[in-house]
């Protein structure tokens, strides 16, 4: 249990530097803050929360109730940003000469170096449109959906999390559950779609079992098999993807 608690804390604090500044600021405020309100809310409460967080008995209770994945969210009760900013402003206020401006600049640099820019994360991209969806998803869904009814389409894995955000009219035989390994989802059609070489002799019969109207594959990927043998035809190429439609499945209203 102790290892789970400390592991969760280490994951939360990442590099540890901002948390270090926070704990340092708590020590500073412990000795300098005289206002009772601020001591209660910025010192006693966070310290009590930390004491509970690191208490194995408490952790066992919470793990039992909510699981281990989100135990770290208790640390959201710590006002890290407010306390570090407050401590910095307090020290700034104590410096009387022009040195305080250098202190402010140095502190800002220290925070930037200690932390990590959110926008530099590899998960951040330039938005391609006002849906904040890849344009390929928007274009493909617009091309295949039929107003007034749902269509079934098989998508490559990079689109599985996105399609249903954009439109409810496009259904999929499998979705995001395939991307989260700990959920243990299994689907032979997904495996066939993510193979190095796309074997249409495997993919298309499996797609038919889901009454899929469309199968979408990346244009650059090597494929084997003849789609016409299974009643599919190529209907469009959009944004680096090829759309095949099953002519044997009715798509009207």
């Amino acid at each position: 249990m102790w290892r789970l608690i400390t592991g969760s804390f280490q994951n939360f604090m990442g590099t540890g530097l901002i948390m270090g500044w926070y704990l340092l600021t708590l020590v500073y405020l412990w000795f300098t803050e005289k206002d009772r309100r601020r001591r209660v809310l910025l010192l006693y409460v966070p310290l009590a929360v930390l004491a509970l967080y690191f208490n194995p008995l408490f952790a066992r209770l919470v793990y039992g109730a909510v699981g281990d994945e989100i135990y770290y969210r208790i640390l959201w009760l710590l006002p890290v940003t407010i306390v570090v900013a407050y401590g910095t402003a307090c020290v700034y206020g104590r410096i009387k000469s022009r040195k305080k401006y250098w202190f402010a600049a140095l502190s800002a640099v220290l925070v930037m170096v200690s932390g990590s820019c959110v926008y530099c994360s590899p998960h951040f991209h330039r938005a391609e449109n006002l849906y904040h969806m890849p344009q390929a998803v928007v274009d493909i869904c617009d091309a295949i959906q039929v107003e007034g009814r749902e269509v079934m389409a098989v998508f490559p894995k990079e689109m599985l999390s996105l399609v249903r955000q954009y439109t409810p009219l496009v259904c999929m035989p499998y979705g995001r559950e395939m991307l989260v390994s700990r959920w243990g989802a299994d689907n032979p059609l997904y495996d066939a779609m993510e193979a190095e070489v796309l074997d249409m002799n495997v993919i298309l019969p499996l797609a038919k079992t889901y009454s899929s109207h469309f199968v979408i594959v990346p244009e650059g990927k090597e494929t084997v098999g003849n789609v016409e043998d299974y009643g599919f035809v190529l209907v469009d190429r959009i944004d680096g993807y090829v759309i095949y439609q099953d002519t044997g499945v009715y798509i009207g209203l």
């Binding site: 809310l41 929360v49 259904c171």
Partner: protein, 358 residues
């Protein structure tokens, strides 16, 4: 034309309605000390609490076309509350709050003071611009944003599978925290796609809400040294921007996942609870008795936390429990602990509902 109209309606519901709703609690607290920022933030808390109270019974009762009914009920109640707030503002606003302004009481304290304000506003504006111009694809959006899209198009509440297809049994874990349904409400009322409302409009409203709470907390911290307030806000902005030291921080959630309920919990509701305790303890120290609106707001904040995520029930009970106990011991007033415990009631109700129905 439809898009412009939709954006205008969104502005009304994301700015106007919270402001007018917040005028009600602002009227019953010390009006001279409260500003548009208090109205805005308390308006959001009250709106979210109201939405939770309206929507969860409809989810649990499996009401047919439940979302349609939720929209009508919530819109009606919100407009009624906003109308009361507008009446109070018009009737008493000029007389009682002559300095109603966003940055209340900020007189000219020198060039450097203004420079710090400019730096903070530039950093905040940068975050808003990047909220529109950049996108963060998070796997959880496949659930939450898809729920918003499905709800808005189907008028059902948690009855369809967001990941792939088809109907599902009632998803209790998420149904008790219908924050995505609030986004679906905004999409329905504005006529704009739920995905755009979630990814663009909601961050544009919620990021400033967080900073308004920080601003008010700063006002409490630097009550007698207001010249430090803009520097404090500059550092909050820098700490938020550089808060990606792990994927699990509230700051990361605030900028990367603003559309998710958990972000609203960590970046708005929890800081709002801290602010409310600053206000409550301030009055406790001064021996002032008219605190009932602040306790009501605290209860509303707990309810709003339950809207954001089912974990909100536990976190609110923990936060209020610890804060109530520490306050009662520090001030030697048992009443503080008792009232704080009473404010936990919504969380306990939703937690009980969760365990009973699961």
């Amino acid at each position: 034309m439809a898009i412009i109209a939709g954006c205008f309606i969104l502005c009304i519901w994301l700015v106007g309605i919270p402001l007018l709703t917040g005028a009600v609690p602002a009227f019953f607290t010390e009006r001279r000390k409260h500003s548009l920022s208090f109205m805005w933030t308390s308006g959001y808390i009250l709106s979210w609490a109201l939405f939770q109270l309206v929507t969860v019974p409809l989810v649990l009762l499996h009401v047919s076309q439940g979302f349609k009914l939720a929209v009508k009920l919530f819109a009606g109640l919100s407009l009624a509350l906003a109308a009361v707030g507008a009446f109070l503002l018009l009737r008493y606003g000029k007389k009682k709050s002559p300095h109603l302004s966003l940055i209340k009481g900020e007189s000219d304290r020198g060039r450097l003071h203004r420079i710090y304000w400019v730096i903070f506003l530039v950093l905040a504006a940068l975050q808003l611009a990047l909220a529109v111009g950049m996108t963060y694809q998070d796997g959880d959006d496949a659930y939450y944003v898809a729920i918003s899209t499905l709800t808005e198009s189907s008028n059902t509440l948690y009855e369809l599978m967001p990941y792939s297809m088809g109907a599902t049994g009632l998803d209790m874990r998420h149904g008790l925290a219908p924050f995505p349904v609030w986004i679906a409400f905004l999409a329905r009322i504005s006529g704009l796609p739920a995905v755009s409302v979630a990814h663009v409009a909601v961050p544009l409203a919620l990021i400033p809400t967080t900073y308004m709470i920080f601003y008010q907390i700063g006002g409490q911290l630097f009550d007698k040294k207001k010249e430090r307030l803009p520097l404090f806000l500059c550092f909050t902005a820098i700490l938020v921007i550089f808060g990606n030291y792990s994927l699990y921080t509230a700051e990361n959630f605030m900028l990367a996942r603003s559309r998710q309920g958990k972000s609203a919990l960590g970046c708005i509701v929890i800081p709002m609870v801290l602010l409310l305790f600053f206000l409550i303890l301030d009055r406790a120290e001064k021996g002032q008795k008219d605190q009932w609106m602040l306790w009501l707001l605290l209860g509303a904040a707990v309810t709003a936390a339950c809207l954001c995520t089912t974990l909100g029930t536990m976190l609110m009970c923990l936060l209020l429990g610890v804060t109530g106990l520490c306050s009662a011991l520090a001030y030697r007033r048992l009443g503080l602990a008792v009232k704080t415990a009473l404010c936990c009631a919504p969380a306990l109700v939703y937690a009980a509902l969760y365990f009973v129905v699961e």
